[in-house]
C-alpha cells in the first residue's frame, strides 16, 4: 500500500474501509537464500538492502511477535553520531547520513527532525571531558559546536540556572535529532516487501539445522526452514538464540527504561543529555517529553523495569528542569538490551559457519539501523565483511582490540 492524495481521496469517499496492508504478511517457504532472525529495524533494513543493493531474491525475515515490537518500538528515537573513536564515528556518521535521505529512499516519512543534541558539562571535570569529545568529533570530521552557558540557556530557557547542576558548557551536534521509530520499521518493511522479501510474523526460531560448527537453516514453531545464510538481529535475546547454535557470546542482557510524559505545548526544541544526572530528554511532535536514563542495576529479561531507576531518572530531570515537576508520566516501559563490555556492537561472521551476528548495540541500536542493515547486507551478499564493520568483529574479544565507547555510549553501562 502506497499513499498519495489520490489514495487518500479514494479511501475517504469509500469510508476508509478499503485501506490495504502496507506489506504482505508472508507464509514461510521451505528454503531461502538468507534468513534474518528478528523483525526489528536492523533485520528489516538488512533485508531491504540485500534486495535493493545486492539483488538477492530469496530472503525471509522471521519475527517471533510483530515487526518493530521489540527495541525498535521501545527506544527514545534519538539519532546521533557524537562518538569518540574513529571506527565508531565512521559507522554512526554513515548511519546518520543514511537517515537523512531515508524518507525519500523509502518514500515513507520517517519524520527525522534534526534539532540538534546538546551534551552538558556541569563541572570543570565534565568540561574537560566534553572538550576532549569536541576535539575527537572534530578530528573525526563530524560537525559539532561548543556552546557557552548563555547559548545553552537560549536553547533551553527552562533550565534551572541556580540549581545543583550549573552549566559550564554544552557540546552540540546540530545534525542529531529524533526519528519516528515505528516509521523506520514500517518503511523498511514495506520497501522490503515490495522487493519480494518474505516478512513472517509470529514465527519464533527454536533451534538451528546443521551441526559440526555449521548452520544450514532454522527450526521454527512453524516448521523447518533451510537457509544459505542466517543473520541474527535480535538485540537483547542474542545470547538465547546463539546458545542454540552452541555459541557463547560476551553479552549480558539488561533492562533499559524509557518514559513519556503527558503532552504539553512546545517547551523544548532540542535533545539534551546530562551525563552527570544520567538523564536525556526530548519533546515529541505530539508534545510529550521522552525521557531516558541509565540501565537497571542487574541482568534481566523482564521487559518492565525497576522503580528505583524511575525515581533516579525523574529526580535527575527535575534537578535540571524543575518546571516539569507538575507533569505526569503517562507511560513507562523497558526493553532488553545486549550490553557488551566495550559498549560497541558485534557485527559480521562468527565461528559458526553461515551464521552472522548483528548484536551488542546495547543501549544505542536505533541510531545504527540504516548502517547496520547496509553493512550486514553487504557482508551477507558478498561474503566480504564491509570495511566499516571490520573493527566490530567478534574476535576483538580474543585479540583485545576493543573499541571502548563507554563514555560516548551516552548513558552509563
Amino acid at each position: 500500500m502506497h499513499y498519495s492524495a489520490i489514495t487518500l481521496a479514494r479511501n475517504a469517499l469509500t469510508g476508509h474501509r478499503n485501506w490495504g496492508p502496507m506489506w504482505k504478511d508472508a507464509q514461510p517457504k521451505p528454503a531461502y537464500d538468507v534468513v534474518i532472525v528478528g523483525g526489528g529495524g536492523h533485520g528489516l533494513a538488512t533485508a531491504y538492502y540485500l534486495a535493493k543493493n545486492h539483488g538477492v531474491k530469496n530472503i525471509a525475515v522471521l519475527e517471533k511477535a510483530w515487526i518493530g515490537g521489540g527495541n525498535t518500538g521501545r527506544n527514545t528515537t534519538i539519532v546521533r553520531s557524537n562518538y569518540f573513536l574513529p571506527e565508531s564515528s565512521a559507522f554512526y556518521e554513515f548511519s546518520v547520513k543514511l537517515y537523512e535521505k531515508l524518507s525519500s529512499e523509502l518514500n515513507y516519512n520517517i519524520m527525522f527532525s534534526q534539532r540538534g543534541m546538546i551534551t552538558l558539562a556541569h563541572s570543570r571535570h565534565d568540561e574537560e571531558t566534553l572538550r576532549r569529545s569536541y576535539n575527537a568529533m572534530s578530528l573525526n570530521g563530524v560537525d559539532c559546536e561548543w556552546l557557552h552557558p548563555e547559548q545553552v540557556f537560549e536553547r533551553m530557557p527552562l533550565y534551572n540556572r541556580g540549581g545543583r547542576y550549573p552549566i559550564r558548557a554544552g557540546l552540540n551536534q546540530p545534525r542529531a535529532g529524533s526519528v519516528r521509530h515505528d516509521a523506520v520499521a514500517w518503511g523498511y518493511a514495506r520497501a522490503a516487501s515490495d522487493l519480494g522479501v518474505d516478512i513472517i510474523q509470529n514465527c519464533e526460531v527454536t533451534g538451528f539445522l546443521g551441526g559440526d560448527g555449521k548452520v544450514t537453516g532454522v527450526k521454527t514453531n512453524r516448521g523447518e526452514i533451510s537457509a544459505g545464510k542466517v543473520c541474527l538481529s535480535v538485540a537483547g535475546h542474542t545470547s538465547q538464540i546463539a546458545d542454540k547454535a552452541g555459541l557463547k557470546l560476551p553479552i549480558s542482557s539488561y533492562a533499559l527504561q524509557a518514559f513519556v510524559s503527558e503532552p504539553v505545548k512546545p517547551v523544548f526544541d532540542t535533545v539534551v543529555l546530562s551525563p552527570a544526572t544520567g538523564v536525556y530528554l526530548s519533546q515529541t511532535d505530539k508534545g510529550e517529553l521522552v525521557i531516558g536514563g541509565a540501565l537497571d542495576l542487574y541482568p534481566s529479561y523482564a521487559q518492565r523495569g525497576n522503580f528505583h531507576t524511575v525515581e533516579g531518572v525523574v529526580a535527575g530531570m527535575l534537578e535540571m528542569f524543575p518546571a516539569f515537576s507538575r507533569l505526569r508520566l503517562m507511560r513507562q516501559w523497558a526493553g532488553i538490551v545486549d550490553v557488551v563490555r566495550d559498549s560497541s556492537p558485534i557485527l559480521g561472521p562468527c565461528p559458526v559457519e553461515n551464521l552472522y551476528l548483528n548484536c551488542g548495540f546495547g543501549t544505542g541500536g536505533f541510531k545504527a539501523i540504516p548502517a547496520g542493515g547496509w553493512t550486514m547486507a553487504h557482508t551477507l551478499a558478498t561474503g566480504e565483511v564491509h570495511p566499516l564493520i571490520k573493527p566490530f568483529a567478534l574476535d576483538r574479544f580474543t585479540t583485545g582490540a576493543l573499541i571502548d565507547e563507554a563514555a560516548a555510549a551516552g548513558i552509563a553501562h
Binding site: L297, P299, N306, T398, T399
Partner: protein, 95 residues
C-alpha cells in the same frame, strides 16, 4: 524492586547493593600457557541465561561484603543467597 537479605545485615533495599555479574568464574592458568581465546572468554564471555542466574553481589551501602545469589532473570525471584566460595545450588526444573 528487590528486598535482598544480606547474610550479614539482614533484609535491605536493593539500592544498597551492587550486582557484580556472573559468579563462579575460574581464572585460567598458569598465565603463560593460557591461549588468547581462553583468556578472552575468561574476561568477556558470560552466561546470560533467561532463567536462574548465579551472580555476585556487594552490599556497597552496608557491610561492604560480597556474597552469591541465585536469582531468576525474568521474575527477579531470589531463590538462595550463599557465601562466596560455596558451589552454586541446584535448582530443579520448573521451579
Amino acid at each position: 524492586m528487590l528486598l535482598i537479605k544480606c547474610p550479614f545485615c539482614g533484609p535491605r533495599d536493593e539500592t544498597e547493593f551492587r550486582c557484580g555479574g556472573q559468579s563462579h568464574i575460574t581464572r585460567p592458568g598458569p598465565h603463560d600457557v593460557v591461549a588468547d581465546a581462553e583468556w578472552g572468554a575468561y574476561l568477556y564471555t558470560r552466561e546470560n541465561p533467561k532463567g536462574w542466574h548465579f551472580e555476585r553481589w556487594l552490599h556497597a551501602g552496608g557491610c561492604r561484603q560480597w556474597f552469591n545469589m541465585a536469582r531468576h532473570t525474568v521474575t527477579h525471584e531470589i531463590r538462595q543467597i550463599y557465601a562466596i566460595g560455596e558451589p552454586a545450588p541446584t535448582i530443579g526444573e520448573g521451579s
